[in-house]
Amino acid sequence: MSVLVFAENWEGKFKKPAQEALTYGYELAQKTGGPLCAVVIGHNIQGDEINKLGAYGCPKVLSAIAPAFASFSANIYATVIADAAKKENATHIVFSHTYTGKSVAPRVAVKLQAGLAAGAVSLPSSPEPFIVRKKCFSGKGFTDVQISSPVKIVSLSPNSHHVFAAGEHKAADFKIEEFNPALPASDTTVNEVKKTSGKVVLTEAEIVVSGGRGLKGPENWGMVEALADALGAATACSKPVADMGWRPHHEHVGQTGITIAPNLYIAIGISGAIQHLAGVSSSKVMVAINTDKEAPFFQAADYGIIGDAFDVVPKLTEAIKQLKSAH
Protein backbone atom coordinates (compact mmCIF):
# COMPACT_ATOMS: atom_id res chain seq x y z
CA MET A 1 0.00 0.00 0.00
CA SER A 2 2.46 2.58 -1.24
CA VAL A 3 1.79 6.32 -0.94
CA LEU A 4 3.02 8.84 -3.53
CA VAL A 5 2.89 12.59 -2.82
CA PHE A 6 3.16 15.12 -5.62
CA ALA A 7 5.19 17.85 -3.86
CA GLU A 8 4.44 20.95 -5.85
CA ASN A 9 7.04 23.71 -6.03
CA TRP A 10 6.66 27.40 -6.82
CA GLU A 11 9.80 28.78 -8.44
CA GLY A 12 11.88 26.09 -6.84
CA LYS A 13 10.44 26.36 -3.32
CA PHE A 14 8.12 23.96 -1.51
CA LYS A 15 5.50 26.14 0.12
CA LYS A 16 2.79 25.40 2.66
CA PRO A 17 0.40 23.39 0.42
CA ALA A 18 3.28 21.03 -0.45
CA GLN A 19 4.25 20.76 3.24
CA GLU A 20 0.66 19.93 4.12
CA ALA A 21 0.51 17.28 1.38
CA LEU A 22 3.79 15.73 2.60
CA THR A 23 2.58 15.64 6.20
CA TYR A 24 -0.72 14.17 5.06
CA GLY A 25 1.13 11.60 2.95
CA TYR A 26 3.31 10.58 5.92
CA GLU A 27 0.26 10.09 8.13
CA LEU A 28 -1.58 8.23 5.36
CA ALA A 29 1.39 5.90 4.90
CA GLN A 30 1.31 5.21 8.67
CA LYS A 31 -2.29 4.05 8.22
CA THR A 32 -1.77 2.00 5.07
CA GLY A 33 1.52 0.59 6.34
CA GLY A 34 3.05 1.31 2.96
CA PRO A 35 6.26 3.04 1.96
CA LEU A 36 6.14 6.78 1.23
CA CYS A 37 7.67 8.51 -1.75
CA ALA A 38 7.38 12.02 -3.19
CA VAL A 39 7.70 13.16 -6.78
CA VAL A 40 8.88 16.65 -7.71
CA ILE A 41 8.72 18.24 -11.16
CA GLY A 42 10.56 21.36 -12.16
CA HIS A 43 13.50 22.93 -13.90
CA ASN A 44 15.18 25.12 -11.30
CA ILE A 45 14.87 23.26 -8.00
CA GLN A 46 18.10 23.22 -6.02
CA GLY A 47 19.19 19.96 -4.42
CA ASP A 48 19.14 21.45 -0.92
CA GLU A 49 15.50 22.46 -1.44
CA ILE A 50 14.68 18.84 -2.30
CA ASN A 51 16.67 17.72 0.75
CA LYS A 52 14.24 19.67 2.90
CA LEU A 53 11.48 17.24 1.95
CA GLY A 54 13.17 14.65 4.16
CA ALA A 55 12.28 16.83 7.14
CA TYR A 56 8.61 15.87 6.66
CA GLY A 57 9.35 12.17 7.04
CA CYS A 58 9.60 11.45 3.34
CA PRO A 59 12.43 8.93 2.80
CA LYS A 60 12.54 9.02 -1.00
CA VAL A 61 12.05 11.63 -3.70
CA LEU A 62 11.72 10.98 -7.41
CA SER A 63 13.20 14.09 -8.94
CA ALA A 64 12.09 14.98 -12.46
CA ILE A 65 14.17 18.03 -13.31
CA ALA A 66 14.43 19.08 -16.95
CA PRO A 67 14.12 22.17 -19.14
CA ALA A 68 10.88 20.66 -20.49
CA PHE A 69 9.26 21.45 -17.14
CA ALA A 70 10.05 25.17 -17.25
CA SER A 71 6.52 25.89 -18.42
CA PHE A 72 3.40 24.10 -17.29
CA SER A 73 1.55 21.61 -19.43
CA ALA A 74 -1.09 19.42 -17.78
CA ASN A 75 -0.51 16.43 -20.06
CA ILE A 76 3.24 16.37 -19.34
CA TYR A 77 2.85 16.71 -15.57
CA ALA A 78 0.15 14.02 -15.57
CA THR A 79 2.43 11.66 -17.51
CA VAL A 80 5.30 12.11 -15.05
CA ILE A 81 3.09 11.56 -11.99
CA ALA A 82 1.26 8.57 -13.45
CA ASP A 83 4.60 6.99 -14.43
CA ALA A 84 5.98 7.66 -10.95
CA ALA A 85 2.89 6.00 -9.47
CA LYS A 86 3.37 2.94 -11.65
CA LYS A 87 7.08 2.73 -10.83
CA GLU A 88 6.34 2.87 -7.09
CA ASN A 89 3.23 0.67 -7.32
CA ALA A 90 1.43 3.53 -5.59
CA THR A 91 -2.02 2.68 -4.27
CA HIS A 92 -2.56 6.19 -2.89
CA ILE A 93 -1.58 9.49 -4.51
CA VAL A 94 -1.76 12.83 -2.71
CA PHE A 95 -2.07 16.18 -4.53
CA SER A 96 -2.52 19.72 -3.23
CA HIS A 97 -5.86 21.11 -4.41
CA THR A 98 -4.15 24.14 -5.96
CA TYR A 99 -4.51 25.37 -9.55
CA THR A 100 -1.77 22.96 -10.58
CA GLY A 101 -3.33 20.08 -8.66
CA LYS A 102 -6.73 20.83 -10.17
CA SER A 103 -5.19 20.75 -13.66
CA VAL A 104 -3.20 17.56 -13.25
CA ALA A 105 -5.02 15.24 -10.81
CA PRO A 106 -8.05 14.61 -13.10
CA ARG A 107 -5.76 13.51 -15.94
CA VAL A 108 -3.83 11.19 -13.61
CA ALA A 109 -7.14 9.76 -12.36
CA VAL A 110 -8.09 8.74 -15.91
CA LYS A 111 -4.63 7.33 -16.69
CA LEU A 112 -4.74 5.13 -13.56
CA GLN A 113 -8.53 4.56 -13.49
CA ALA A 114 -8.41 5.94 -9.96
CA GLY A 115 -11.18 7.52 -7.94
CA LEU A 116 -10.35 11.10 -6.97
CA ALA A 117 -11.52 12.90 -3.83
CA ALA A 118 -10.99 16.55 -4.73
CA GLY A 119 -10.74 19.17 -2.00
CA ALA A 120 -10.35 16.66 0.85
CA VAL A 121 -9.99 18.02 4.39
CA SER A 122 -9.35 14.83 6.38
CA LEU A 123 -7.37 11.63 6.51
CA PRO A 124 -9.38 8.41 6.15
CA SER A 125 -10.19 6.83 9.52
CA SER A 126 -9.10 3.47 8.12
CA PRO A 127 -7.45 2.27 4.89
CA GLU A 128 -10.54 0.18 4.04
CA PRO A 129 -13.21 1.35 3.50
CA PHE A 130 -11.32 4.43 2.35
CA ILE A 131 -13.50 7.40 3.31
CA VAL A 132 -12.34 11.02 3.45
CA ARG A 133 -14.26 14.20 4.18
CA LYS A 134 -14.40 16.98 1.60
CA LYS A 135 -16.11 20.33 1.35
CA CYS A 136 -19.25 20.60 -0.73
CA PHE A 137 -21.90 23.17 -1.60
CA SER A 138 -19.21 25.87 -1.57
CA GLY A 139 -18.52 25.65 2.14
CA LYS A 140 -22.16 25.15 3.16
CA GLY A 141 -21.56 21.47 3.90
CA PHE A 142 -19.20 18.53 4.03
CA THR A 143 -19.51 15.12 2.45
CA ASP A 144 -17.76 11.86 3.26
CA VAL A 145 -16.69 10.21 0.04
CA GLN A 146 -15.67 6.59 -0.31
CA ILE A 147 -13.12 5.62 -2.95
CA SER A 148 -13.41 1.99 -4.01
CA SER A 149 -10.92 1.75 -6.92
CA PRO A 150 -7.57 -0.04 -6.33
CA VAL A 151 -5.68 3.25 -6.84
CA LYS A 152 -7.00 6.19 -4.82
CA ILE A 153 -6.23 9.87 -5.30
CA VAL A 154 -6.73 12.57 -2.68
CA SER A 155 -6.41 16.24 -3.60
CA LEU A 156 -5.93 18.05 -0.30
CA SER A 157 -7.63 21.39 0.28
CA PRO A 158 -5.02 24.07 1.18
CA ASN A 159 -4.90 25.17 4.84
CA SER A 160 -6.86 22.09 5.95
CA HIS A 161 -4.07 19.91 7.32
CA HIS A 162 -1.33 20.54 9.87
CA VAL A 163 2.34 20.63 8.91
CA PHE A 164 5.08 18.78 10.78
CA ALA A 165 7.60 21.10 12.35
CA ALA A 166 10.77 20.73 10.29
CA GLY A 167 12.70 17.73 11.58
CA GLU A 168 9.81 16.38 13.68
CA HIS A 169 9.73 13.22 11.57
CA LYS A 170 13.06 13.38 9.83
CA ALA A 171 13.53 10.46 7.46
CA ALA A 172 16.51 8.29 8.45
CA ASP A 173 17.68 7.13 5.01
CA PHE A 174 16.74 10.00 2.77
CA LYS A 175 17.50 9.55 -0.90
CA ILE A 176 16.85 11.44 -4.10
CA GLU A 177 16.44 9.42 -7.28
CA GLU A 178 16.57 11.03 -10.69
CA PHE A 179 13.43 10.30 -12.65
CA ASN A 180 13.33 10.70 -16.43
CA PRO A 181 10.19 9.13 -17.86
CA ALA A 182 9.49 9.27 -21.60
CA LEU A 183 7.43 12.38 -22.24
CA PRO A 184 4.73 13.11 -24.81
CA ALA A 185 4.97 16.35 -26.80
CA SER A 186 3.68 19.32 -24.82
CA ASP A 187 0.19 20.26 -26.01
CA THR A 188 0.16 23.71 -24.36
CA THR A 189 2.37 26.70 -25.16
CA VAL A 190 2.82 29.14 -22.30
CA ASN A 191 3.38 32.60 -23.79
CA GLU A 192 3.52 34.69 -20.65
CA VAL A 193 3.22 34.39 -16.88
CA LYS A 194 1.76 37.47 -15.18
CA LYS A 195 2.31 37.61 -11.44
CA THR A 196 -0.34 39.28 -9.32
CA SER A 197 1.06 42.45 -7.84
CA GLY A 198 -0.34 41.81 -4.33
CA LYS A 199 2.27 41.15 -1.69
CA VAL A 200 0.49 38.13 -0.21
CA VAL A 201 -1.22 35.56 -2.43
CA LEU A 202 -4.87 35.41 -1.38
CA THR A 203 -5.35 31.65 -1.55
CA GLU A 204 -2.25 31.03 0.57
CA ALA A 205 -2.74 33.86 3.08
CA GLU A 206 -2.97 33.04 6.79
CA ILE A 207 -4.82 36.32 7.39
CA VAL A 208 -7.20 38.06 5.00
CA VAL A 209 -8.66 41.56 5.34
CA SER A 210 -11.72 42.06 3.19
CA GLY A 211 -13.85 45.10 2.33
CA GLY A 212 -17.43 45.47 1.16
CA ARG A 213 -19.85 48.11 -0.03
CA GLY A 214 -19.77 49.67 3.44
CA LEU A 215 -16.47 51.27 2.46
CA LYS A 216 -18.41 53.52 0.08
CA GLY A 217 -15.81 53.72 -2.71
CA PRO A 218 -12.48 52.50 -4.06
CA GLU A 219 -10.74 55.62 -2.77
CA ASN A 220 -11.27 54.35 0.79
CA TRP A 221 -9.26 51.15 0.35
CA GLY A 222 -6.14 52.70 1.82
CA MET A 223 -7.22 51.83 5.34
CA VAL A 224 -7.96 48.21 4.33
CA GLU A 225 -4.47 47.96 2.86
CA ALA A 226 -2.91 49.62 5.89
CA LEU A 227 -4.59 47.08 8.18
CA ALA A 228 -3.52 44.23 5.89
CA ASP A 229 0.06 45.51 5.86
CA ALA A 230 0.14 45.71 9.65
CA LEU A 231 -1.05 42.09 9.84
CA GLY A 232 0.97 40.73 6.91
CA ALA A 233 -2.39 39.85 5.38
CA ALA A 234 -3.80 39.57 1.87
CA THR A 235 -6.67 41.85 0.82
CA ALA A 236 -9.98 40.64 -0.57
CA CYS A 237 -13.42 42.03 -1.35
CA SER A 238 -17.08 41.10 -1.68
CA LYS A 239 -18.84 40.45 -4.99
CA PRO A 240 -20.61 43.84 -5.33
CA VAL A 241 -17.27 45.60 -4.86
CA ALA A 242 -15.67 43.56 -7.66
CA ASP A 243 -18.77 43.96 -9.86
CA MET A 244 -18.66 47.74 -9.46
CA GLY A 245 -15.00 47.72 -10.44
CA TRP A 246 -13.78 49.10 -7.11
CA ARG A 247 -11.42 46.15 -6.81
CA PRO A 248 -10.14 43.54 -9.31
CA HIS A 249 -12.14 40.31 -9.71
CA HIS A 250 -9.26 38.17 -8.52
CA GLU A 251 -9.83 39.62 -5.03
CA HIS A 252 -13.50 38.57 -4.95
CA VAL A 253 -14.10 35.92 -2.30
CA GLY A 254 -17.42 34.10 -2.08
CA GLN A 255 -19.41 31.35 -3.70
CA THR A 256 -18.74 32.50 -7.25
CA GLY A 257 -15.31 33.93 -6.47
CA ILE A 258 -12.40 32.44 -4.59
CA THR A 259 -13.00 30.14 -1.64
CA ILE A 260 -10.50 30.73 1.14
CA ALA A 261 -9.70 29.14 4.49
CA PRO A 262 -7.33 31.49 6.33
CA ASN A 263 -6.69 31.42 10.07
CA LEU A 264 -8.22 34.89 10.41
CA TYR A 265 -10.73 36.65 8.16
CA ILE A 266 -11.64 40.27 8.89
CA ALA A 267 -14.75 41.51 7.06
CA ILE A 268 -15.16 45.28 6.95
CA GLY A 269 -18.45 46.72 5.75
CA ILE A 270 -19.59 43.35 4.40
CA SER A 271 -23.15 42.43 5.36
CA GLY A 272 -22.56 38.68 5.06
CA ALA A 273 -24.85 37.45 2.28
CA ILE A 274 -25.08 33.66 2.19
CA GLN A 275 -23.04 33.54 -1.04
CA HIS A 276 -20.25 35.53 0.57
CA LEU A 277 -20.21 33.41 3.73
CA ALA A 278 -20.03 30.26 1.59
CA GLY A 279 -16.62 31.36 0.33
CA VAL A 280 -15.12 32.28 3.70
CA SER A 281 -16.84 30.11 6.31
CA SER A 282 -13.90 27.68 6.46
CA SER A 283 -11.82 30.46 8.04
CA LYS A 284 -10.73 29.45 11.54
CA VAL A 285 -11.64 32.82 13.12
CA MET A 286 -13.86 35.52 11.59
CA VAL A 287 -14.22 39.15 12.62
CA ALA A 288 -17.04 41.41 11.37
CA ILE A 289 -16.97 45.20 11.49
CA ASN A 290 -20.24 46.79 10.42
CA THR A 291 -22.45 49.77 11.29
CA ASP A 292 -25.57 47.62 10.98
CA LYS A 293 -26.11 45.50 14.07
CA GLU A 294 -28.53 43.32 12.06
CA ALA A 295 -25.85 42.41 9.48
CA PRO A 296 -25.99 38.62 8.99
CA PHE A 297 -22.20 38.46 9.29
CA PHE A 298 -22.55 38.87 13.07
CA GLN A 299 -24.33 35.47 13.13
CA ALA A 300 -21.30 33.82 11.54
CA ALA A 301 -18.43 35.82 13.07
CA ASP A 302 -16.47 34.94 16.21
CA TYR A 303 -15.83 38.58 17.08
CA GLY A 304 -17.79 41.64 16.08
CA ILE A 305 -17.64 45.40 16.29
CA ILE A 306 -20.76 47.43 15.60
CA GLY A 307 -19.27 50.68 14.46
CA ASP A 308 -18.11 52.91 11.66
CA ALA A 309 -15.22 51.36 9.75
CA PHE A 310 -13.77 54.79 9.07
CA ASP A 311 -13.39 55.25 12.81
CA VAL A 312 -12.65 51.66 13.93
CA VAL A 313 -10.22 50.40 11.28
CA PRO A 314 -7.46 53.01 11.72
CA LYS A 315 -7.58 52.46 15.50
CA LEU A 316 -7.40 48.73 14.96
CA THR A 317 -4.36 49.14 12.70
CA GLU A 318 -2.64 51.24 15.39
CA ALA A 319 -3.39 48.63 18.07
CA ILE A 320 -1.92 45.90 15.86
CA LYS A 321 1.23 47.91 15.21
CA GLN A 322 1.62 48.33 18.97
CA LEU A 323 1.18 44.61 19.54
CA LYS A 324 3.73 43.78 16.82
CA SER A 325 6.26 46.26 18.16
CA ALA A 326 5.84 44.82 21.68
CA HIS A 327 6.72 41.30 20.46
Binding site: A74, N75, A78, Y99, K102, S103, V104, A105, P106, R107, A109, V110, A114, L116, A118, I131, C136, F137, S138, K140, G141, F142, T143, D144, V145, Q146, I147, D187, T189, V190, N191, E192, V193, K194, V201, E204, I207, H252, Q255, T256, G257, T259, L264, I274, Q275, A278, S282, V285, V287, F298, A300, A301, D302, Y303, G304, I305, I306, A319, Q322, L323
Partner: protein
Protein backbone atom coordinates in the same frame (compact mmCIF):
# COMPACT_ATOMS: atom_id res chain seq x y z
CA UNK B 1 -16.77 25.15 -35.28
CA UNK B 2 -18.47 22.58 -33.04
CA UNK B 3 -18.80 23.40 -29.34
CA UNK B 4 -19.86 21.00 -26.61
CA UNK B 5 -20.76 22.64 -23.29
CA UNK B 6 -21.15 20.43 -20.23
CA UNK B 7 -23.93 21.52 -17.89
CA UNK B 8 -24.35 20.76 -14.18
CA UNK B 9 -27.70 21.06 -12.44
CA UNK B 10 -27.06 22.67 -9.01
CA UNK B 11 -28.92 24.37 -6.15
CA UNK B 12 -29.33 28.13 -6.59
CA UNK B 13 -26.54 30.12 -4.93
CA UNK B 14 -28.95 31.61 -2.35
CA UNK B 15 -30.06 28.15 -1.14
CA UNK B 16 -29.70 27.32 2.53
CA UNK B 17 -28.18 23.87 2.32
CA UNK B 18 -29.72 21.20 4.57
CA UNK B 19 -29.40 17.44 4.49
CA UNK B 20 -31.96 14.68 5.02
CA UNK B 21 -32.29 13.46 8.67
CA UNK B 22 -30.26 10.31 7.92
CA UNK B 23 -27.46 12.50 6.53
CA UNK B 24 -27.36 10.55 3.27
CA UNK B 25 -28.57 13.19 0.82
CA UNK B 26 -29.30 16.83 0.16
CA UNK B 27 -32.72 17.87 1.40
CA UNK B 28 -34.17 19.14 -1.89
CA UNK B 29 -37.44 20.40 -0.39
CA UNK B 30 -37.96 23.96 -1.63
CA UNK B 31 -34.58 24.03 -3.39
CA UNK B 32 -34.46 25.86 -6.74
CA UNK B 33 -32.08 24.29 -9.24
CA UNK B 34 -30.15 26.28 -11.80
CA UNK B 35 -27.46 25.87 -14.45
CA UNK B 36 -24.13 25.88 -12.62
CA UNK B 37 -23.06 29.57 -12.89
CA UNK B 38 -19.60 28.76 -14.29
CA UNK B 39 -21.15 26.45 -16.90
CA UNK B 40 -23.39 29.34 -17.93
CA UNK B 41 -20.28 31.50 -18.50
CA UNK B 42 -18.80 28.69 -20.64
CA UNK B 43 -22.04 28.42 -22.61
CA UNK B 44 -22.21 32.17 -23.19
CA UNK B 45 -18.65 32.36 -24.50
CA UNK B 46 -19.30 29.42 -26.85
CA UNK B 47 -22.38 31.23 -28.18
CA UNK B 48 -20.43 34.48 -28.66
CA UNK B 49 -17.73 32.74 -30.71
CA UNK B 50 -20.31 30.76 -32.68
CA UNK B 51 -22.19 33.96 -33.52
CA UNK B 52 -18.98 35.62 -34.73
CA UNK B 53 -17.45 32.68 -36.58
CA UNK B 54 -20.26 30.18 -37.28
CA UNK B 55 -20.81 26.69 -35.92
CA UNK B 56 -23.04 24.82 -33.51
CA UNK B 57 -23.31 24.71 -29.74
CA UNK B 58 -24.50 21.51 -28.11
CA UNK B 59 -25.11 21.22 -24.37
CA UNK B 60 -24.68 17.89 -22.60
CA UNK B 61 -25.67 16.85 -19.10
CA UNK B 62 -25.58 13.65 -17.09
CA UNK B 63 -28.69 13.46 -14.92
CA UNK B 64 -32.20 12.05 -14.46
CA UNK B 65 -35.32 13.30 -16.28
CA UNK B 66 -36.06 15.84 -13.53
CA UNK B 67 -33.15 17.95 -14.79
CA UNK B 68 -34.63 18.55 -18.26
CA UNK B 69 -35.82 22.03 -17.21
CA UNK B 70 -32.18 23.03 -16.68
CA UNK B 71 -31.28 21.82 -20.17
CA UNK B 72 -34.26 23.69 -21.65
CA UNK B 73 -32.92 26.83 -19.97
CA UNK B 74 -29.59 26.27 -21.73
CA UNK B 75 -31.47 25.93 -25.01
CA UNK B 76 -33.36 29.16 -24.22
CA UNK B 77 -30.05 30.95 -23.69
CA UNK B 78 -29.12 29.90 -27.21
CA UNK B 79 -27.69 26.38 -27.47
CA UNK B 80 -28.72 24.59 -30.67
CA UNK B 81 -29.42 21.18 -29.21
CA UNK B 82 -29.10 19.23 -25.99
CA UNK B 83 -28.07 15.74 -24.95
CA UNK B 84 -28.94 14.17 -21.61
CA UNK B 85 -27.26 10.98 -20.45
CA UNK B 86 -29.92 9.35 -18.34
CA UNK B 87 -28.02 8.52 -15.13
CA UNK B 88 -27.31 9.96 -11.70
CA UNK B 89 -24.06 11.98 -11.89
CA UNK B 90 -22.59 10.24 -8.84
CA UNK B 91 -18.90 10.43 -9.69
CA UNK B 92 -16.81 12.82 -11.80
CA UNK B 93 -14.95 9.96 -13.49
CA UNK B 94 -18.26 8.41 -14.52
CA UNK B 95 -19.65 11.73 -15.79
CA UNK B 96 -16.46 12.46 -17.73
CA UNK B 97 -16.37 8.95 -19.22
CA UNK B 98 -19.97 9.36 -20.43
CA UNK B 99 -19.34 12.77 -21.97
CA UNK B 100 -16.07 11.62 -23.57
CA UNK B 101 -17.85 8.55 -24.95
CA UNK B 102 -20.48 10.77 -26.57
CA UNK B 103 -17.98 13.38 -27.76
CA UNK B 104 -15.68 10.80 -29.31
CA UNK B 105 -18.12 10.12 -32.15
CA UNK B 106 -19.08 13.74 -32.72
CA UNK B 107 -15.65 15.37 -33.16
CA UNK B 108 -16.10 18.61 -31.25
CA UNK B 109 -13.54 21.39 -31.66
CA UNK B 110 -14.02 22.84 -28.18
CA UNK B 111 -15.37 21.15 -25.06
CA UNK B 112 -16.23 23.54 -22.24
CA UNK B 113 -17.21 23.18 -18.59
CA UNK B 114 -17.35 25.54 -15.64
CA UNK B 115 -14.25 25.66 -13.44
CA UNK B 116 -16.18 23.66 -10.86
CA UNK B 117 -19.78 22.91 -10.00
CA UNK B 118 -21.02 24.83 -6.99
CA UNK B 119 -22.39 21.65 -5.41
CA UNK B 120 -19.36 19.34 -5.20
CA UNK B 121 -16.68 21.98 -5.95
CA UNK B 122 -14.32 19.38 -7.39
CA UNK B 123 -13.44 20.78 -10.81
CA UNK B 124 -12.47 17.39 -12.19
CA UNK B 125 -14.69 16.66 -15.17
CA UNK B 126 -12.98 18.89 -17.76
CA UNK B 127 -9.48 17.47 -17.20
CA UNK B 128 -10.84 13.94 -17.18
CA UNK B 129 -12.69 14.40 -20.50
CA UNK B 130 -9.52 15.85 -22.04
CA UNK B 131 -7.47 12.87 -20.85
CA UNK B 132 -10.06 10.37 -22.16
CA UNK B 133 -9.95 12.10 -25.57
CA UNK B 134 -6.21 12.82 -25.56
CA UNK B 135 -6.63 16.56 -26.09
CA UNK B 136 -5.15 19.63 -24.31
CA UNK B 137 -6.89 20.87 -21.17
CA UNK B 138 -6.80 24.43 -19.86
CA UNK B 139 -8.23 24.73 -16.35
CA UNK B 140 -9.73 27.85 -14.74
CA UNK B 141 -9.58 30.07 -17.82
CA UNK B 142 -10.68 33.71 -17.66
CA UNK B 143 -10.41 34.47 -21.41
CA UNK B 144 -10.80 32.54 -24.64
CA UNK B 145 -10.20 33.70 -28.21
CA UNK B 146 -10.10 31.37 -31.23
CA UNK B 147 -8.62 32.04 -34.65
CA UNK B 148 -6.86 30.03 -37.34
CA UNK B 149 -7.30 26.67 -35.62
CA UNK B 150 -5.63 27.90 -32.44
CA UNK B 151 -7.02 29.13 -29.15
CA UNK B 152 -5.46 31.81 -26.96
CA UNK B 153 -6.43 31.64 -23.34
CA UNK B 154 -5.75 33.36 -20.07
CA UNK B 155 -5.89 31.08 -17.05
CA UNK B 156 -5.48 31.54 -13.32
CA UNK B 157 -2.46 30.03 -11.63
CA UNK B 158 -1.29 30.21 -8.04
CA UNK B 159 -0.27 33.82 -7.55
CA UNK B 160 -1.04 35.13 -11.02
CA UNK B 161 -2.22 34.44 -14.54
CA UNK B 162 -0.80 32.60 -17.50
CA UNK B 163 -1.36 33.27 -21.20
CA UNK B 164 -1.38 30.03 -23.17
CA UNK B 165 -2.00 28.78 -26.69
CA UNK B 166 -3.41 25.38 -27.61
CA UNK B 167 -4.46 23.78 -30.90
CA UNK B 168 -8.01 22.64 -31.58
CA UNK B 169 -9.56 20.38 -30.42
CA UNK B 170 -9.15 21.14 -26.73
CA UNK B 171 -11.06 21.32 -23.45
CA UNK B 172 -11.36 24.32 -21.14
CA UNK B 173 -13.01 25.18 -17.82
CA UNK B 174 -14.44 28.67 -17.34
CA UNK B 175 -13.77 31.01 -14.44
CA UNK B 176 -15.43 34.37 -13.77
CA UNK B 177 -14.61 36.97 -16.49
CA UNK B 178 -14.87 34.27 -19.20
CA UNK B 179 -18.18 35.81 -20.34
CA UNK B 180 -21.10 37.76 -18.93
CA UNK B 181 -24.09 35.37 -18.70
CA UNK B 182 -27.16 36.26 -20.77
CA UNK B 183 -30.77 36.35 -19.70
CA UNK B 184 -32.86 34.34 -22.16
CA UNK B 185 -35.33 36.46 -24.15
CA UNK B 186 -38.90 35.45 -24.99
CA UNK B 187 -37.94 34.23 -28.46
CA UNK B 188 -35.25 32.03 -26.93
CA UNK B 189 -37.65 30.62 -24.37
CA UNK B 190 -40.28 29.85 -27.04
CA UNK B 191 -37.80 28.25 -29.43
CA UNK B 192 -36.23 26.16 -26.63
CA UNK B 193 -39.40 24.08 -26.44
CA UNK B 194 -38.92 22.74 -29.94
CA UNK B 195 -35.14 22.40 -30.05
CA UNK B 196 -33.87 18.80 -30.01
CA UNK B 197 -33.18 17.24 -26.59
CA UNK B 198 -31.78 13.77 -27.08
CA UNK B 199 -31.81 11.28 -24.19
CA UNK B 200 -29.21 8.51 -24.20
CA UNK B 201 -28.62 5.64 -21.79
CA UNK B 202 -25.17 5.48 -20.13
CA UNK B 203 -22.48 3.45 -21.88
CA UNK B 204 -20.10 2.97 -18.93
CA UNK B 205 -20.33 1.57 -15.40
CA UNK B 206 -17.20 2.59 -13.50
CA UNK B 207 -18.08 4.75 -10.47
CA UNK B 208 -15.13 4.60 -8.05
CA UNK B 209 -16.20 7.48 -5.76
CA UNK B 210 -19.49 7.74 -3.87
CA UNK B 211 -20.73 10.21 -1.27
CA UNK B 212 -21.75 8.13 1.74
CA UNK B 213 -22.70 10.88 4.21
CA UNK B 214 -23.20 14.63 4.51
CA UNK B 215 -22.80 17.08 7.38
CA UNK B 216 -23.55 20.74 7.86
CA UNK B 217 -20.63 22.83 9.09
CA UNK B 218 -20.33 22.86 12.91
CA UNK B 219 -22.51 25.51 14.54
CA UNK B 220 -20.69 28.69 15.49
CA UNK B 221 -20.71 29.86 19.08
CA UNK B 222 -22.15 33.32 19.65
CA UNK B 223 -20.27 36.29 18.27
CA UNK B 224 -18.34 38.15 20.97
CA UNK B 225 -19.11 41.88 20.63
CA UNK B 226 -16.41 44.45 21.26
CA UNK B 227 -16.84 48.12 22.15
CA UNK B 228 -16.22 50.16 18.97
CA UNK B 229 -14.40 52.76 21.08
CA UNK B 230 -11.82 50.16 22.08
CA UNK B 231 -10.57 48.13 19.07
CA UNK B 232 -7.41 47.33 21.06
CA UNK B 233 -9.57 44.87 23.00
CA UNK B 234 -10.16 42.97 19.72
CA UNK B 235 -6.42 42.83 19.11
CA UNK B 236 -5.93 41.42 22.64
CA UNK B 237 -8.55 38.73 22.09
CA UNK B 238 -7.18 37.75 18.65
CA UNK B 239 -3.73 37.50 20.17
CA UNK B 240 -4.33 35.84 23.55
CA UNK B 241 -7.68 34.04 23.16
CA UNK B 242 -7.99 33.08 19.48
CA UNK B 243 -4.18 33.00 19.04
CA UNK B 244 -4.36 33.93 15.36
CA UNK B 245 -2.11 37.01 15.43
Amino acid sequence: MKFLVCISHVPDTTTRIAFTPDGKALNTAGVQFIINPYDEMALTRALEIKEAQGGTVTVIHVGPAATDATLRKALAIGADDAVRINAEPVDALFVAAEIAHYANNEKYDVILTGRESIDYNSGQVMGMIAEFLGIPSVAVATKLEISGGKASLEREIDGGKELVTVSLPFAVSAQKDFAEPRIPNMRGIMSARTKPLKVLEPATQFKPVQSVAYQSPPAKSACKMIDPANPAELVNLLHSEAKVI
